[in-house]
């Protein structure tokens, strides 16, 4: 064959050190990681890394810190299976393997100058947090910011301390709702879709970014369209199990798209007719 230049090896793993581990809920932990020599990860909000625990395996995890945080990056990991259980057992000082960052993240440039509506469901807050922090760090570049958060119950709410800060900020409209309340819960109870009709927005200059469990998308999108937001102004981050991050293993393929290369963030107008995408 004629042209087969060798690039750097795509499966090579960089080592990262666990600097801190913080339990966010019973199921989720936040890992703060540093690369050798404090090198920046150079990611975009919404991208993911392949995390390696040698002997256990490798899994795609979205980066939940903003690229404006240069000295380290953070991963929020829910304990769900063998790999994440092993990850949860790590203590500060442990070393893990990292490949990436991979994928197309949230659309920062189309958001600039526009009003932004950020909608997170459950663990979807983790990737969206990278964008929220980026917007906060560059607040003047964006118009009105609405953050809507939905989760199962108050106990499963992530980043509670940060949510309080966002709630108190005058330049952010924050609201959240839980599917099931608790005796000491004073906030909204109900699905996240119930929050959308109450948001005051100018549809023509609003861009919505949605990240959450697959079941949430269809209903949230319906509400956004009812508010007059154009399909082209809606971005979704799709969940798939990427095995390689390189568009080769086929596990994240959505018809002719590879979630790991063409996504995980997609414009709704581009994928609305793709069977099985949402």
């Amino acid at each position: 064959m004629k042209t087969m230049a060798l690039h750097h090896c795509s499966y090579q793993v960089a080592r990262a050190k666990v600097e801190t581990v913080r339990a966010l809920t019973d199921l989720e932990k936040l890992f703060r990681l540093v690369l050798p020599d404090g090198e920046a990860l150079n990611h975009d909000p919404g991208q993911f890394v392949q995390v390696s625990l040698f002997g256990v395996g490798e899994a795609p995890i979205s980066i939940c810190s903003s690229p404006t945080q240069l000295d380290s990056f953070e991963l929020c990991v829910r304990r769900a299976g063998r790999f994440t259980t092993a990850l949860h057992q790590l203590n500060p000082g442990a070393e893990i393997g990292i490949r990436g960052p991979f994928g197309v993240g949230f659309p920062v440039i189309p958001l600039e100058g526009n009003d932004v509506m950020l909608i997170a469901g459950g663990l979807g807050l983790a990737p969206l947090r990278s964008l929220i922090h980026y917007i906060i760090d560059n607040r003047r570049d964006f118009g009105k910011v609405d953050i809507l958060l939905g989760c199962r119950d108050p106990q499963s709410m992530l980043f509670c301390d940060e949510l309080e800060v966002w709630r108190k900020r005058l330049d952010i409209n924050f609201s959240c709702s839980v599917d099931r309340g608790a005796p000491d819960w004073e906030g909204n109870v109900g699905l996240i879709t119930a929050l959308i009709p109450g948001v005051h927005l100018e549809p023509l200059k609003t861009v919505a970014v949605v990240c959450g469990p697959p079941v949430m998308y269809r209903f949230v999108i319906q509400e956004l369209l009812k508010k007059g937001i154009a399909e082209r102004h809606i971005y979704l981050s799709l969940e798939r199990h990427m095995k390689c991050g390189l568009g080769k293993c086929g596990h994240c393929q959505i018809e002719n798209l590879y979630c790991c290369r063409d996504g995980p963030v997609f414009n709704y107008a581009d994928i609305k007719n793709i069977k099985g995408a949402i």
Binding site: M1, K2, T3, M4, A5, L6, H7, H8, C9, S10, Y11, Q12, V13, R15, S52, F54, G55, V56, G57, E58, A59, R78, A80, G81, T84, E95, G97, L123, P213, P214, E239, R240, H241, K243, C244, L246, G247, K248, C249, G250, H251, C252, Q253, I254, E255, N256, G276
Partner: protein, 330 residues
Amino acid sequence: MLKTLTAQDLFRLLDRVSRDYNLLVPRNLDDGTRGLVKWDGQQLDFCGDPLQRKPTSHFFPQTDLLVQLLKDGTASVPRKTPEPLALLGLCREDLQGIAFCDRFFSVPPADDIYLDKRRGALLIGLTGQAGPEGEFLPLAGQDCDIELIAEKPTWTAVAYSEPGAHLLEEFPDADPQGFERLWERSAEITVARQEKLAQAAQLLQRELVTDDFWEEIAARCIRCGGCNFVCPTCTCFCVQDRQGSHGTERSRIWDSCQLDAFMREAGGHNPLGTALLRTRRRIHHKLVDDPQRWGEPGCVLCGRCDRACPTGIGMYSVCDAIVSRFGERL
């Protein structure tokens, strides 16, 4: 470069190839199948059934080491540079399958593990009167370094690359008119199968194939994954770690989109969670998604999945059924 080779010339060519390459040649094996085996300087079978094993497995084997973590904590990537392979006996469809994988794995970010094996390998197509009983196999015309066209008792050899031309330079030139006649003969065959595939692709692209059809096909699938494992353009793999005495080895292993867990996520969501979706994907992926992504279908009509499928729902059989059932809608 167009050459004509006698049987003696051919053996001279193979000896020359085997000096620089690990040459594998076609042999009709005792178990009734046909495979590529190491050239022993004497025996090879020019005529025979299609090769059993998918040709791309030489560069994308069933299991392949990706990275090693040694006990001292260093991660290293295997960089074996064995003698480059030379594969003789590939038909047009086999060569098309390899070309498909070459492009797939070369698209940035390139897959170095595949390219390490593929770079420097020599592909020798075998067409012309090389079918089981000497039937005429269609000419390749590309996708290889050398194409040997069996004409009995001689061979026409065409070089399509620099290494191929270098290997053929010492042999006498062939008659270009004779070569044209070979192409005319080649054009007469296999058109019907290709037309059927194109029709099925059109029906799928226009979404004229209904879900009840996929239900019926899915009901016949026994989820053995055989269709994927024999397909030369199937490239899906899973990754697994294995611990040994010197450290951990991370390997990739062929995977099958026909298995329930193929896309299942940790959160429980499974985008291919029904047999209908998986069956539809297998065909749709090759005939609709691949043309959109790569400009050509992912099926090269090699027939391996049709031969391997125990329930008769290989690619061509399904395309045949699609055209029979929905063809009039075109």
